[in-house]
């Protein structure tokens, strides 16, 4: 059995997305800037995709900028808001300790350019409250950027409440919705979101294409300079097949969101209930405000990479916030942010489902994962110290 349970890392493309792209790879290959009919067919596809993506987000087509992915969108949102803030002498940005590196590393760059960054701590359940955001806002705050849902532990943030406190104080609000788009209801107008990033490959769309939504009136700064594509805000010949594929995938995801979420939530909760039977383990992230497909556990006494590799041997594709998966000795900054000690954070397991996972797969995982955890614990000197009482259990 081959089970793909790493949909937070990337998803398998849907037939819908592939079929949508193929004509633009095979036949309508024009450059939308070209005046001739081949080019104008591409321009038309671009406009239709823009309208479709805008509709999925409750936005206006002119508020949609196509980018090369979620990272670029995050970068551009933060740099743009920073530049707008700097013009008014506002150089303070608020974010959280458990953002994606696309946000955190851009904030680091902003700091090197004289910005001050406040990273709010995150509660044990992986959630930041609107009150905490409100308390951190200063007169010189130009941007609050907080992710819609966390990619590792799946916790969903109170986006509407946060955007409201931002706007009460006249501060722009950006959200990295890379894990949320296509999975959770988004309406930028109702949720008062000023800027939002998403990435197509997280909802069965193609890799290398994303969206930056920016409310009308927010002047974007270019990350990539050059031609006048995307109203002059993002240079480079448009990736028409990718953009069209993304629009098709997003449309499909939004159309089936409710049923998909119900299916995934049921599987998720079964997995959580089953994995909770493993002693000295703990669920990471809020139990209720949680992405439908996300399961994340820490298991004491074992290390994540070896767990992943053994699961892979059994056909289970999963992920870990373990340091060893990234070549650094520091374990996941997300798990540290919610207060997991280093020792425990190393032993994490993330399963992220999509609508195509089945109950049979869940049953298989619930059968195999405890065995692998047991096996690794049986050869772990840490586990021996814990069971012999030499060390105290943390979980």
């Amino acid at each position: 059995m081959q089970i793909y349970a790493d949909n937070a890392a990337t998803t398998k493309m849907s037939r819908t997305a592939i079929e949508a792209m193929l004509p633009y790879m095979e036949t309508y290959f024009g450059n939308p800037s070209s005046l001739h009919s081949v080019g104008q067919a591409a321009a038309e596809a671009l406009q239709k995709a823009r309208e479709s993506v805008a509709a999925a987000l409750g936005a206006d087509p002119r508020e949609i900028t196509f980018t090369s992915g979620g990272s670029e969108a995050d970068n551009q949102a933060i740099v743009s808001a920073g530049n707008l803030g700097a013009k008014k002498g506002k150089k303070h940005i608020i974010s959280t300790a458990f953002e994606h590196h696309a946000v955190l590393h851009t904030l680091k760059k902003m700091e090197s350019q004289g910005f001050e960054v406040t990273l709010l701590p995150v509660h044990e359940n992986g959630i930041v409250t609107a009150e905490e955001v409100a308390a951190a806002i200063r007169p010189d705050t130009c941007l609050v950027t907080i992710m819609f849902a966390n990619n590792e532990i799946g916790s969903i943030q109170p986006i509407e409440a946060i955007s409201r406190v931002c706007h009460e104080k006249g501060v722009l609000f950006h959200t990295d919705a890379v894990q949320a788009a296509g999975h959770l209801p988004i309406n930028v107008k109702e949720q008062e979101i000023d800027m939002l990033s998403l990435s197509a490959h997280k909802f069965h769309g193609p890799k290398g294409v994303g969206v930056l939504y920016a409310r009308r009136g927010i002047a974007l700064s270019n990350i990539i300079e050059g031609g006048a594509q995307e109203r002059g805000k993002r240079a480079g010949t448009e990736n028409i097949p990718g953009i069209v594929g993304m629009a098709a995938a997003l449309h499909e995801a939004c159309t089936h969101m409710t049923e998909n979420a119900a299916h995934m939530t049921a599987l998720r909760d079964k997995l959580i209930a089953g994995l909770e039977k493993i002693p000295h383990g703990a669920l990471n992230g809020d139990r209720a405000n949680r992405l439908p497909g996300n399961i994340n556990f820490c298991f004491e006494g074992i290390e994540g990479e070896s767990l992943l590799l053994l699961l892979d041997q059994k056909g289970i594709c999963a992920s870990s916030g373990s340091a060893c998966t990234s070549g650094s000795l520091e374990p996941s900054h997300v798990l540290l942010a919610i207060g997991r000690p280093h020792e425990v954070a190393h032993g994490s397991l993330r399963l992220s489902l999509c609508e195509w996972n089945t109950e049979a797969e869940v049953d298989y995982m619930l059968q195999e994962i405890p065995k692998v955890v047991d096996y690794l614990r049986s050869m772990s000197p840490v586990w021996k110290d814990l069971t012999s009482g030499k060390k105290k259990f943390m979980l």
Binding site: E303, S306, S322, S328, V382
Partner: protein, 147 residues
Amino acid sequence: MALYSEKVMDHFTHPRNVGEIENADGVGQVGNAKCGDIMKIYLKIDNDVITDVKFNTFGCGSAIASSSMATEMIKGKPVSQALELTNKAVVEALDGLPAYKLHCSVLAEEAVKSALKDYYDKNNIAYDHSLFPNCEDCGYCEIKKEK
């Protein structure tokens, strides 16, 4: 160009010499859980020859494979020869490790040495202290943290 060589995967999925030795003649443990790797090696030594060796490891695939390989490499060898085990030899025997996993082989070398040192200490055998660096001397954890 899979993540790990076949050798590493073999030693990771079928590790040799896993376990403990009661009343071992030498026991060594290196690394710490904070950094993500702990290796513990048990030696049975008769007439200056390593007659049995077992390990327990908390760590990633290459840590487990390095432990397994290191124990294989010293099993049945005289102590003097085991002392010459280098991380480089472990890496070579494993057909290579990714650059950022090299510290696992260093840990394996240190675990062996630490167990041998324990054997010397227990038996009051004199030895050259410079042969036994501390875990801290590896510097790997520090280097990574600076980055």
